[in-house]
Amino acid sequence: MTTTPLGAGAAGQAVGSPVPVPARRPAAFHQTAKVTMGRVLRSEWTKLTSLRSTMWTLLAAFVVTIGFGCLIPAITVSEWHNADAQERATDFTEPVMTSLVGGYFSQIAIGVLGVLLITGEYSTGMIRTSLGAVPHRLPVLFGKAAVFGVASFVLSFISILIAFFCGQAILHQIGLGVSIGDPHVIRVLLGGAFFVTSIGLLGLVLGSLIRSTGGSIAALLGLIFVVPIITGLLPGSWGDIHKFVPDGAGEALVTVVRDSDDVMTPFGGLVVLLLWLVVGLGFAAYSLVRRDA
């Protein structure tokens, strides 16, 4: 009702009040007000940046990625001085990965954050406000995924980049450091950031489907830590399943030199991860539209 026209029926309804009901002037902004995808994105950005816990988690992921990216190379350098020639030849072959291990911690932080972004709305009741404002619902889910996906990718990539430069600078002391221009390096750094982002989005998907914080986090940790252990133990060709779980696909993205068929090609890993996200978001979207809020 933007204009609130009042017929005789409405006035007649006003039992005991002889005062006629005046026509109401709608606010000026009614003319331009309309739900659009762009506006939902802005709203989700405000939501993401206005929670202190979210900002702390993002900061923690950022700091931990860089911290471990320096710490492990530093340990590597001190171990190098104690190692004999043979150990030096076999144990110090992964200079890029050495500065990327922080990513394993940040994937937990980002994954749990993805869960909390949606389960936090269910547990506080905020979801009813969100879906009341956007009754078609899907823009809320996709807006959240887009804003969070972009934010966590950018943050992850910057932190991984800093970790890489710091780590390699430390490794240069013993002549092991690689340069960003070396083959596969840029792909591995981007792939690492994308893998972390994917885990975050899978958290968002699980949170949308399960709705409870505890259950969703348990499911997410199971998916990224327990499932790979099981698939890693499968015998023979069953072991190939490992390539198709998120962890295996992520491994393909960050493997510098692919020396066996146990991991997929980087492109294959990307496709597998994207499939997980598309199918997952599809389920989340279906569930959001079909179920009562």
Binding site: M1, P26, R128
Partner: protein
């Protein structure tokens, strides 16, 4: 205007809302009254598309909620449970909601001022008292300056000052021509705030009437009479189509006649009267009577099959209230 038609919601085998049909008109405050668990919240949730009706429809201004391109500018909502993330400040919460449909930032400041929360706009909602939370809910409902407001138990948790504030606000908003639909389980509160009443129990419509009629029919014209010849008086009054109930050796509860008429009839028949008192049934009593059978959990009693009052007919509901009131009095 809000219109419900054959509105039904089932959760498994449990029917929360059972075939409700009613309409809420603009210009007045309409109370949505019923005991806890009567289906009020479910009805309101269906009105804004959070829950899907099993059957029937509920529309606002003739359209389903989903069809609005800027729903907050059409319908403002306050839901019973807090619907705010506790970690966010009041301002950021309202801003995020406003941004979804391009409601300007200054409107956020405006509604914060309207509900008196400007000073704590930057504070996290988690630290708010129940009353402040309700005020924030009202601010959120008013964000789009909507013509229809749906408020679920808005006075819950408010102090007397806050209750009076809400009462005045709702009446002012109604006078501006808005449709105001307010649920409550407190009859006395509704009597002060609302002009029209929709009463539900166990998901079914019990009455749809003006507050005035509801009060009048609830009080009925119950008259308490004391006479040494009570049973003889009862016969006399019964001939006049009054409903009489012997409530003691010398006491009668009479329904359907004024005290004046009873006195005249007794005088004409030569029956002495020792007391002749018109009784006002309190609104709370009336509400308890009318919804007694509809209360979901009857404190240990097995639920009874209630004879249903014909809905939507104020007169019909009135008779039932009168009868119920008589019984209630008789038990004392």
């Amino acid at each position: 205007m809000i219109e419900a038609r054959d509105l039904t919601k089932r959760y498994g085998s449990k029917t929360a809302v059972d075939d409700l049909t009613f309409s809420v008109q603009p210009g007045v405050v309409t109370g949505f009254l019923g005991p806890n668990g009567a289906g009020k919240s479910t009805t309101m949730r269906m009105a804004i598309g959070l829950d899907r009706p099993t059957k029937g429809t509920i529309t606002v201004n003739g359209r389903a909620y989903r069809e609005f391109s800027a729903p907050l500018c059409e319908v403002g909502v306050l839901l019973e449970a807090k619907a705010v993330h506790t970690g966010r400040s009041a301002f950021k919460h309202l801003l995020a909601v406003a941004q979804t449909q391009g409601i300007p930032r200054r409107r956020v400041d405006e509604v914060l001022g309207l509900v008196g929360l400007s000073e704590v706009a930057g504070k996290r909602v988690g630290g708010f008292s129940l009353g402040m939370g309700q005020r924030l809910g009202i601010a959120s409902a008013m964000l789009g300056d909507p013509g229809v407001l749906i408020l679920d138990e808005p006075v819950n948790g408010l102090d007397p000052e806050g209750i009076r504030w809400i009462r005045t606000l709702l009446q002012t908003l109604a006078r501006e021509g808005r449709t105001i639909f307010v649920s409550s389980h407190l009859m006395s509160e509704m009597a002060l705030t609302a002009t029209h009443l929709i009463v539900v129990g166990r998901g079914k419509l019990i009455a749809n009437t003006s507050v005035e009629d509801f009060i009048r029919s609830a009080s009925g014209d119950l008259v308490h009479v004391r006479s040494p010849q009570a049973s003889r008086l009862a016969e006399v009054l019964d001939r006049e189509n009054a409903k009489t109930t012997l409530t003691g050796l010398d006491m009668l509860a009479v329904n359907g006649l004024t005290a004046q008429r009873i006195g005249d009839l007794a005088f004409a028949a030569g029956i002495p009267l020792h007391e002749l008192t018109p009784r006002q049934v309190s609104l709370e009593d009336a509400f308890m009577d009318i919804t007694r059978d509809a209360v979901e959990y009857n404190h240990g009693q097995p639920p009874q099959q209630q004879p249903h009052v014909p809905a939507a007919a104020a007169g019909g509901a009135g008779d039932a209230v009168g009868a119920g009131a008589t019984t209630a009095r008789g038990q004392r």
